[in-house]
Each structure stands twice: as C-alpha cells, then as structure tokens.
Amino acid sequence: MRVAVVIFPGSNCDRDMMVAIERITGRRPQMVWHKETGLDAADLVIVPGGFSFGDYLRCGALAARSPIMEAVLDHASRGGAILGVCNGFQILLETGLLPGTLVKNKGLKFICRSTNLQVQETISSPFTSGLEAGSQLAIPVAHNEGNYFADEDTLASLRDNGQIALTYVNGPAFGPSNPNGSAHDIAGILSPNGRIMGMMPHPERAADPDIGNSDGLIFLKNAVEMVAA
C-alpha cells in the first residue's frame, strides 16, 4: 500500500496527514513537491489542506495548474484513488476531477470547530464501503470557503448517483449542524466512479487518541484498507 501526499507552497496539513498515514500503514507516505512530475505508482494520492499559493485568484486555482497535477490526473484516469481534504478538495474541484465549487461560508467567517458528519449510502467507493451508512463521525473543519455550490442538475445527479458521501448533521458538536451553508449539507462528495473523494472536514486533525477524538483516524484507516483491498 503506497500513499503519496502532494505538497504545494502554502500547504499546511501535509505533515499532520503524513503522521496519520504513518500511524495507519507503518510507513511514511511519499511526500511529493508540486514541481515534481511523477507519483511513483502510488495507490492512494492525498491532496492535503492549507492555503496553497495563498488562496490567490481562487482557493486551489493555482495549485490545480501545478506540474504535479498532470500526474494526479493520469492517476485518476487509471482509476487511482485520490482524497482531497479542505484546500485539497478545492484543488480537485478546480481541476474538474469533482463537480461544483466551494464558495465563501454563508456567515462570512472563517470556521474552525468540530462538526458531526453522517456517512451516506453511496456508490461503491473505498472511502465509504467499510463505513456503515447512517453512522456518524465527529471531525473538525477549518475553512473560509467551504460552502459547497453546484447548479441544480449537478446536485440532483450527485444525489441520484450516490455521490454525496458525508453530510453535516446535528450532534454533540457545538453550533449549527451545517456550518457554512453548503447545498444539501454536503461535507464530502465522490467522483462518478467512487475513486475520488473531496471533503472539507480534516480527518488528520482527529487522528490521535491523545487529543480525545480519533474519528478521523477511523475514516482514514478505512480508506487506506479499502484502497489496498
């Protein structure tokens, strides 16, 4: 099982992701700088969170046109698994690997807190297949542009094809269930073939029992195991 984590100037969750993945696989993932052009046959490519290129122009817009993304697109065209978290989700949307976009939070504020997520019934996907539909995970968000937007046809097709993977729901976390105004309370979506997932919440920030919440580790561990299966 080989995992690669892509790093852009301004990525800031790459190291947390590396630690979480190493905790699961026992191996340090390949850390790939955005100027590189190869991915060394990775099974799972992770695009981590942060503020790539300072969020200039639009979140993820410049990173999506970085040299490494050619290799990521190749990996995707071979049916490779890709996970984008937060800014990584924004980058995958900007590349067109996932539909829609993320706009400014409804309340105009940067939101940094835990959220309750519900696993949805989806198409076959390594990111959801080991998790029970309807089960909940508490995973934190930290973003200013996490408000998922797409036209009605796209939203309907996401729903009808089972591409909505995670939604914000009521639960023990403080604050309104949908933190940012996302359409259909969307927190994470899948590509039509289920091999690519983008999510705003940060599983790598809830991946250490010492901080009192390891739901993110449950999510990542499942993804790693299912991609390897």
């Binding site: 122009l57 046109r65 976009t101 706009v103 105009l108 036209d151 105004g181």
Partner: protein, 82 residues
C-alpha cells in the same frame, strides 16, 4: 495590447460579501442601494498581432484559469497599444 477581464458572479449565485456590503451601505444612509455584487478585475498585457487574436487568447485564459465558470461570468475588453 491591454486586456481587461471583468469577472462577476453568475446570476443566482449568492454573494454573501455583497450582501454584507449592502447592509453596511444601508446603515450609513445609502438605503437606495440594492443588489450589491462584488467581482474582480484582472488587467494584463497580451502580445498579439490583432485584437481578435488577443480576445481569443484572453477567452482561453478565462476558461482555463482566470474564471471559475461554474459560478463566474467574464467579460473581456481590449485596448490597442498607442
């Protein structure tokens, strides 16, 4: 040639920033202001033989990176160098 690209949010896309500015305008007395929408303007020099070519290249730049056509419209104006 001097190319100016005006990028605006498509109709129907919520603009929470515009709404916040609208409320502030009202709070300082500009109650006649409504439908405040915030966009951005990008200016650039483009090396091209004529305006048609410059326009064509600028449109491709918009489609590929400058605008996110899921939520944004763009408008290109070109000024020939003096």
């Amino acid at each position: 040639m001097k190319v100016t690209v005006n990028i605006s949010l498509k109709e129907g896309v919520l603009d929470p920033q515009g709404r916040a500015v609208e409320r502030s305008l009202a709070s300082i007395g500009f109650t006649e202001a409504s439908n405040v929408r915030i966009g951005k303007q990008i200016t650039l020099d483009v090396d091209a033989e004529d305006t048609a070519r410059a326009h064509q290249r600028a449109a491709r730049m918009c489609e590929q990176i400058l605008a996110n056509t899921v939520i944004e419209d763009y408008e290109i104006t070109i000024e020939e160098d003096q």
